[in-house]
């Protein structure tokens, strides 16, 4: 089973991130991904993620968003997570500002893995008690442990 736990490193969990807009959030998350995984051109990855956002918002409601892309830059599907210090309006279907952002980036050939991770993340984030626990987590390690306990 494809798990979030082995795709999300605690160094890629950004708690109480200060950001003024979606671009800043994504830049910080891509930077975190780049500190752990090989990401040759972070600006180009950002463009690819924003191109996907242009199709339709990746907000799933209830204060959560899962921006994602399949990029030739990535060798395997990897994730970053951010909890925003101030919830941001990110064109959510329910109009709720977003506090939890999970970024998923993977290679174009790994569509099945990408879809499984995307669906798994969305399913987890639909659970109110899980969202509350993630919003209350005190450290990146605790944040990650909450997700791993779900798996």
């Amino acid at each position: 089973m494809v798990g979030i736990g082995n795709r999300l490193n605690s160094q890629c969990v950004l708690l109480d991130l200060e950001a003024a807009d979606k671009g800043e959030v994504l830049r910080a998350m891509i930077g975190a991904l780049g500190s752990v995984h090989e990401v040759e051109d972070q600006e180009s990855l950002l463009k690819e993620i924003l191109a996907r956002e242009d199709i339709s918002s990746t907000c799933i409601g209830e204060g959560c968003a899962i921006p994602h892309t399949q990029s030739a830059q990535l060798e395997r599907s990897v994730m970053a997570a951010a909890r925003l210090a101030s919830p941001l309006d990110m064109d959510s279907p329910d109009g709720e500002p977003v506090s939890l952002v999970f970024l998923l980036a993977g290679p174009p050939r790994g569509a099945a893995t990408h879809l499984k991770l995307l669906s798994r993340t969305a399913r987890f984030l639909h659970k109110p008690e899980l969202r509350k626990a993630l919003l209350d987590a005190e450290t990146p390690e605790a944040f990650l442990e909450i997700l791993e306990q779900q798996e």
């Binding site: 996907r52 199709i55 339709s56 918002s57 990746t58 907000c59 799933i60 899962i66 994602h68 892309t69 399949q70 279907p93 569509a111 879809l115 995307l118 969305a122």
Partner: protein, 115 residues
């Protein structure tokens, strides 16, 4: 007895498929309008909108035909007609056909065969 489930992806073959059912000896079937999971996710759930590219060439909707098959020979006759008709079930995007055992049934159209 078996329940035959046939998801027919190309609706253009529906008429011929039902003719095949009758020819094979199936006395009744129920036809449902249905939709594939991939199509629904890509077009109805915004999170998966990026995967519309994967759906190109796929039919947006399909038909699901349910029928209770009384004996194995009917099923074999039907499979023999349907498979070449729709372009081979082993080819992706044509359809899915499977059976599950039925241990009780009521309300079936009786079979009336000339002797």
């Amino acid at each position: 007895m078996k329940l035959l489930v046939f998801v027919l992806n190309n609706e253009e073959f529906l008429e011929e498929a039902l003719e095949a059912y009758v020819e094979a000896g199936v006395t009744g079937a129920t036809i449902l309008d249905s939709e594939g999971m991939g199509r629904f996710l890509a077009y109805e759930v915004p999170l998966f909108a990026g995967f519309k590219e994967f759906m190109k060439g796929n039919k947006p909707y399909n038909k699901t035909i349910l029928s209770v098959i009384r004996d194995e020979s009917t099923l074999e006759r039907l499979k023999g007609i349907i498979d070449p008709l729709i372009g081979g079930l082993d080819n992706p995007g044509t359809g899915i056909m499977f059976t599950v055992p039925v241990d009780w049934v009521a309300g079936l159209v009786p079979e009336e065969e000339e002797v």
